[in-house]
């Protein structure tokens, strides 16, 4: 009845066939740039061993801390390893951490949130109290505490980063479930006596998945950032495995050789930016689709 609704529908005139989410994401500049960089980053990580111009691990004391040249476009480090090659290989480590940690946190968090939101009552109160308490810890602090217990390693970094993001997904999913429960179509299938698994899988999950998907992109960027910070502090990926955060840390001890910390840091920056752009694009695409 209100004219504002009317205006909104006027603003985007054609709502003909449902176009796929992907094409809507790629229709925005955020989606194209973010998606492009994330694809590039993924390919680089997958094919890293075959595309590095030099060996990322070979020590060469004849060319220690060389300024960027054609031979070494990003320069070399304190033991003469090619920084470009190490940045390329570092993408592999980062991708592994990002994918594994985000999967852990999204699956576990969404499951917890779904149960808490649907069951309600004391289960909800108890679970969410623990989640809220975990949320009081800053990401990096909780990750550090978990690392302190488990010891620094790649696997432990994945576990720590995976665990710290669980409450975010749980809260998000719980909120979605609570909203959906107020909608008439969920009430309708409840009153029809449809089986619980079918209600959850067919009606609740598909309609709650959108925000979770958007948040996965943001969680991926946070996972990357947390891994880099842990490695920077020397408590994440351990040398000699190359990691962008660790490389910046080494570079920090050699301020005057700027390229040692500049390029790995730039790699983190661009990749995190790409995930954020992609997240924005997916969110906008979903908003438009659901309106």
């Amino acid at each position: 009845m209100t004219e504002t609704m009317f205006q909104a529908s006027v603003r985007m005139p054609v709502r003909a066939a449902r176009t796929s989410l992907l094409s809507r994401v790629l229709a925005s500049w955020q989606g194209r740039i973010g998606g492009g960089i994330v694809t590039f980053f993924t390919l680089m990580a997958v094919f890293a061993p075959w595309i590095t111009p030099h060996s990322p691990t070979e020590v060469d004391f004849m060319s220690v801390m060389v300024v960027p040249t054609l031979e070494h476009p990003f320069g070399t480090d304190e033991v003469g390893r090619d920084i470009l090659s190490r940045v390329i290989l570092g993408a592999r480590t980062s991708l592994l951490v990002v994918v594994a940690a985000t999967l852990i946190s999204s699956v576990a968090g969404a499951a917890i949130g779904l149960v808490a939101g649907w069951v309600g009552g004391w289960v909800d109160t108890l679970v969410m109290r623990v989640m809220d308490a975990m949320l009081a810890f800053p990401l990096i602090v909780l990750a550090l505490a978990i690392i302190a217990v488990l010891g620094p390693s790649l696997t432990n970094a994945i576990i720590a980063i995976g665990i710290v993001k669980i409450p975010h997904f749980a809260r998000l999913m719980r909120g979605e479930v609570l909203t959906l429960r107020t909608l008439d179509y969920i009430k309708a299938v409840e009153t029809m006596g449809l089986g619980l698994p079918r209600i959850l899988l067919r009606h609740v999950l598909p309609n709650a998945a959108g925000p979770v998907l958007v948040y996965m992109s943001i969680a991926a960027s946070l996972a990357l950032m947390t891994e880099a910070s842990l490695s920077f502090l020397g408590l994440g990926i351990q040398p000699p495995t190359p990691s962008w955060g660790g490389m910046v840390s080494v570079g920090m001890q050699n301020w005057h050789f700027w390229w040692m910390s500049f390029y790995p840091g730039l790699a983190i920056f661009i990749t995190v930016l790409a995930f954020n752009l992609l997240g924005d694009a997916i969110r906008d695409a979903m908003d438009r689709r659901l309106s």
Partner: protein, 349 residues
């Protein structure tokens, strides 16, 4: 109330029909068009209101009635392109075109000479400001009242709109009041400076029916005592019969029928007006409900409007080759009435 009915039947020239208005009305809208991009949501609209009269604009969602009121108020965003004229006679006699005013002059009129009451009393008041402050702000926007004078005026208006215990309400927040009370506050706020024109956009739609009756009565009493012109926008023909002197029926961005409210409701000329009356729950003199005669089909989208007469796909009287080709214009039918239908004469006979 009988006086209102009497007024509605006298043969005033309602300048909805062709030709220039004889006596200059308070507000005269001519050939108003509103478009968002290529989508024309309102076209060729004309109506006028005199001081002391109530014009009801009636239509379903998407008819463009609310957007018209926003255009007259100068509250449409920059995404809309507006054409035509809306001539308003100011207190000092100057006639201005509301659609061509500078933002500053438009603002100077709003709240002072033209005021508006909106549909949703729950969201139309600012939730974080006290009622008193929101009332007083109207005075501060249009002058420099002393604290005491402003407060006194706010109190007086709260009393006028029938709010019990007005002193304590001045310090209340909107969420502490019921829907009906909030709508009374909205009316008090609109009338702080005794505007010549009040536009009420579905002011009772969100309210319960017993409260709706109270608000209608209040609006009617205030309108008579202040002698202002009232434009009342509604989707409910029942309300038109209760409050309006004149009525303009809108469909898909156009006026399809206009004239004195009682005459239009008694003998509608346009098939759409008939359909609306047939859709509205009504009883005969003995209290038995009259059978419903719904209009088939759905309201057309303004993006893909039908060719010819916009109502023809739903119209039982539509003639192929005529109504789907030629677009009708609002033509006079005598006794201050107008209709926009190619076949109204044939239908009438």
């Amino acid at each position: 109330m009988n006086s209102m009915m009497a007024m509605a039947t006298d043969n005033r020239a309602v300048p909805l029909t062709d030709g220039p208005a004889t006596s200059s009305p308070l507000l005269g809208v001519e050939d108003l068009g509103i478009a968002f991009g290529a989508t024309k949501v309102v076209e060729g609209l004309r109506f006028s209101v005199d001081p002391g009269r109530t014009l009801a604009i009636v239509g379903e969602s998407g008819s463009g009635k609310s957007i018209t009121s926003l255009a007259v108020m100068g509250l449409l965003g920059s995404s809309a392109s507006v054409s035509g004229r809306a001539l308003f006679r100011r207190r000092d006699g100057e006639v201005v075109d509301l659609l061509r005013l500078s933002p500053g002059r438009s603002r100077a009129l709003r709240g002072d000479e033209i005021a508006m009451v909106f549909q949703e009393p729950m969201t139309a008041l600012n939730p974080v400001l006290r009622i008193g402050d929101q009332l007083v702000e109207v005075l501060r926007n249009h002058g420099r009242p002393t604290r005491g004078a402003a407060r006194a005026r706010a109190l007086e208006m709260l009393r006028t709109v029938g709010i019990p215990d007005p002193e304590s309400r001045l310090h209340a927040y909107p969420h502490e009041l019921s829907g009906g009370m909030r709508q009374r506050v909205m009316i008090a706020m609109a009338l702080m400076l005794e505007p010549g024109l009040l536009i009420a956009d579905e002011p009772t739609t969100a309210l319960d029916v017993t409260i709706q009756a109270q608000i209608l009565l209040l609006l009617r009493r205030l309108q008579k005592s202040l002698g202002m012109a009232l434009v009342f926008i509604t989707h409910d023909l029942g309300i038109v019969g209760q409050i309006a002197d004149d009525v303009a029926v809108m469909y898909s961005g156009r006026v399809v029928e206009a004239g004195p409210a009682r005459a239009v409701l008694a003998t509608p000329n346009h098939p759409y007006t008939r359909g609306l009356l047939g859709s509205a729950p009504q009883v005969d003199a003995s209290g038995t409900p009259l059978p419903l005669k719904p209009i088939p089909g759905i309201v057309p989208s303004p993006v893909f409007p039908p060719a010819g007469c916009r109502f023809h796909p739903r119209c039982g009287e539509a003639k192929a080759g005529l109504c789907d080709r030629t677009e009708p214009v609002l033509e006079p039918t005598g006794s201050a009435r107008g209709v926009s239908c190619l076949r109204w004469k044939e239908i009438a006979s």
